[in-house]
């Protein structure tokens, strides 16, 4: 059975992508799915040949035939997303593709057409196949794009007979995050010892608890503020969620990434520790 692991974080910038990158060289038998579609960064550390580029048609958007439009404004009045202006121009960034405008138009001037909301890339990396995507900036519906990336990653896993999919999720708690953790077997939440980190962790734990998923927490840069690291641990204990790893702050992590090298295979002592290896063993067990 597929072991799908999602790495998420409520707060951005806690080191989710860096940790994901660090895990990759330690797992064989892997497909990588970068589901942070409005900030896809894993490919920067994992150069590889793009084997396929796919335009992702997320949903349909209205197009107005101005020859047929009589300017009556019924569509403008009916759109609940303020996506049609009074002078009947569509604002595509807020349109959710509900097709109410098409339905209400008395002159059949509006039709729904496929609309590309992002690009999906399949890559062949040194560590295994990867699927990632890039949302066209400003687009709606990143959740659907995430679902598509995961679908293609599963197909890839099936084809290449890989048993693990590692998912790099996005920050926040809305549709794109929900899409990234739906149906995974493990969710790893990367947090940091700060009041913001703790605040956002509470919200993301609340979200994760609505799924039947095995969730664990990593406190990244835990020694930057030990008092808050302690508060996070206390909170996790209360919520009965294990803090599986505490990663010390090390400038070499950032510098390694700046040199485009994966930190975990770039002579940083922490990644030779037993704790790190125990964590990896936890990830690969089914």
């Amino acid at each position: 059975m597929l072991n799908e692991i999602a790495i998420i974080s409520g707060k951005g910038g806690t080191g989710k992508t860096s940790i994901t990158a660090c895990i990759i060289p330690f797992i064989e038998d892997l497909v990588i799915a970068d589901c942070d579609v409005d900030a896809p960064d894993l490919n920067i550390l994992l150069p590889g040949r793009i084997t396929e580029t796919i335009d992702y048609v997320g949903f349909k958007r209205p197009i107005i035939d101005y020859d047929k439009c009589n300017g009556c404004g019924v569509c403008y009045q009916s759109c609940k997303f303020n996506s049609i202006s009074e002078d009947i121009v569509i604002n595509k960034s807020t349109c959710e593709g509900c097709k109410v405008c098409e339905y209400v138009c008395p002159t059949d001037a509006i039709t729904m057409h496929d609309y590309t909301i992002g690009k999906i890339f399949k890559r062949d990396t040194y560590y295994g196949p990867m699927v990632d995507a890039r949302l066209i900036p400003g687009e709606e519906s990143s959740g659907k794009l995430v679902a598509e990336v995961r679908k293609l990653a599963r197909l890839e896993a099936h084809k290449e007979e890989k048993s693990i999919i590692l998912i790099d999720g996005s920050p926040g708690i809305a549709c794109n995050v929900i899409s990234a953790i739906t149906g995974v077997s493990k969710a790893i939440i990367v947090t940091e010892p700060s009041v913001s980190g703790l605040h956002d962790l509470k919200r993301v734990i609340k979200l994760v608890k609505t799924f039947s998923v095995d969730a664990k927490v990593i406190i990244n840069k835990y020694d930057l503020e030990l008092n808050l690291a302690k508060q996070i641990k206390d909170y996790c204990e209360l919520e009965e969620i294990e803090v599986i790893l505490e990663v010390p702050f090390d400038k070499n992590m950032v510098l390694s990434i700046s040199d485009l090298k994966i930190p975990s295979i770039n002579n940083i002592p922490f990644f030779e520790s037993q704790k790190w290896h125990d964590f990896i063993s936890y990830l690969i067990q089914n």
Binding site: L2, G143, E148, K151, I178, S179, T182, G183, T210, S212
Partner: protein, 119 residues
Amino acid sequence: MKIGICASDHTPESLVANRFARAPYFAVYNSETLDFAFFNNTAKDEGSGAGGKAVKVLGDLKVDIVLVPELGPKAIDALNAFEIKSYQYKQGKTVREALYEYFEKKLPEMLDASVKGKH
């Protein structure tokens, strides 16, 4: 009577799927004609709401009973509304094996209380 089974591929010897709403195929066994038919699960690629839609697919196929790996709360509500009963199989079986186990009354019925999680 029609029995639906979540299938990973489109033959009776395929493995059962490990998910309900995102199963690649639904096998439908007709106990009067003793035939299997296979249908693409059109709900599997939905961004959200796949659970309810998958049940709608089964409802449209006039399924009376469905064999599943697990169910989310939306799927349970929908199965109740479509009056479809559900039974839980174990992983690693083929579609045919899961069906036989159902006939041998080896599969537990899925009731609300047995479900973990909300999604």
